[in-house]
């Protein structure tokens, strides 16, 4: 650690810095196509409702009401750590279908609230 940084921490009585989290606009959050690309990856989609492709292709993300299935293996089950002993893991049941727009709206809300 640089001496000036350490001196500042000492003066502040802190052990480390915590960066301020800056608020971003809704539009900023939706401006990363890779997020949608990840969400729409076939390996993540347990099944894709027919209207999802149509809606996105025709009207773009903002207008569609398409849904996707959350990746089953991404779900943490409450008994996960208690079942380490088992090697015959059964994949989690898929979560209820989730909406891309809903996800992005929640992210946006978090940004506007300064939580993100």
């Amino acid at each position: 650690m640089r001496a000036d940084a350490k001196a500042l921490l000492d003066r502040l009585g802190k052990s480390d810095f915590k960066y301020r989290e800056f608020v971003d606009r809704f539009a900023d959050l939706e401006s990363w196509p890779i997020f949608e690309a990840v969400l729409r990856d076939s390996r993540l989609l347990g099944s894709v409702p027919d209207d999802l492709d149509n809606d996105v292709d025709d009207a773009g993300l903002h207008e569609h009401g398409g849904e996707l299935i959350q990746p089953a293996k991404a779900q943490l089950r409450p008994d996960l750590f208690a079942r380490y002993a088992s090697s015959d893991k059964v994949p989690s049941a898929p979560e209820p279908q989730r909406n891309i727009r809903s996800l992005l709206e929640r992210l946006s809300h978090a940004v506007e609230e300064g939580e993100l």
Partner: protein, 257 residues
């Protein structure tokens, strides 16, 4: 027992730094910790402040002098795995993860073979990513192959960077509790390596170090709870009475003769 596999989604995401400092944090928390270096030209010793030419004992060899820096037993395992001995040793129980030990395996990003061998024995599989499109682009593939022991960790996080903040939020939504958290980017990590010092010595107030320690603090009770119900483990380990067989010194991973 706990084998923790640490592997990056992409190269350069700081996997070795995390593996080393996770092991160090467990040792500081009073656990017997071992770090296994599965990289052919691994840099794990660097994060313990060891000289570049410092010999590291092989996993199937005898312990060398100063082989437990910062309370962590270091073992090189790449050659052992490359020879094809690892799978047999694991299956036969020659290598087993026993007792209260915590074994942290540092895997090279592309080493799918070793990963496949170790994962059935792992209590925790930590996949490391950085806040980059490259890491994110690999995620669908990784999620597709993830087990329910797989968790994710963002390294080198910088909240002053817009994409980093957005990606962290995105991953929180996507992964839920599968996202263990973020380790803040800290220049002290690079400086400590350049000074040939462990981060804990070079910059004990490092933000990265504090985040790793917090991570390990959060993992301990989870792993302890697992141990309590892990006596009838289904993995191919020797019965408890066989653990008195010859081992190679103070190795965290026992290998019977």
């Amino acid at each position: 027992m706990a084998l923790i596999v640490v592997q990056g989604l992409r190269g350069g995401v700081g996997t070795t730094f995390l593996a080393a400092n996770i092991a160090i944090a467990f040792a500081q928390a009073g656990r017997e910790a071992t770090a296994l270096d599965f990289a052919a030209h691994g840099t794990l010793p660097l994060h313990f402040g060891l000289p570049l030419d410092h010999p590291i004992a092989q996993i199937d060899g005898n312990p060398l002098e100063d082989s437990a820096p910062l309370g962590v037993t270091l073992r090189a395992a790449a050659q052992f795995a490359a020879k094809g001995d690892l799978a047999a040793a694991l299956a036969s129980g020659e290598i087993r993860f026993s007792g209260e030990q915590v074994v942290v395996a540092d895997l090279a990003t592309a080493d799918e073979a070793t990963r496949a061998m170790l994962l059935p024995y792992a209590a925790l599989d930590i996949r490391v990513l950085s806040a980059t499109a490259e890491s994110l682009s690999v995620l669908p593939h990784v999620l597709d192959e993830a087990s329910d022991r797989t968790f994710y960790l963002i390294n080198m996080a910088d909240d002053t960077r817009r994409f980093c903040r957005h990606m962290a939020g995105f991953l929180r939504e996507l992964l839920g509790d599968r996202l263990l958290g973020s380790i803040r980017r800290d220049e002290a990590v690079i400086e400590a390596g350049a000074m040939l010092q462990p981060l804990a010595k070079y910059a004990p107030s490092s933000a990265s170090l504090k985040d790793v320690q917090t991570l390990v603090h959060d993992l301990v009770p989870r792993l302890s709870a697992a141990f309590a119900t892990n006596d009838e483990t289904a993995v191919a380990v020797k019965p408890a009475e066989d653990r008195s067989r010859k081992t190679t010194g103070r190795q965290g991973v026992s290998r019977a003769a």
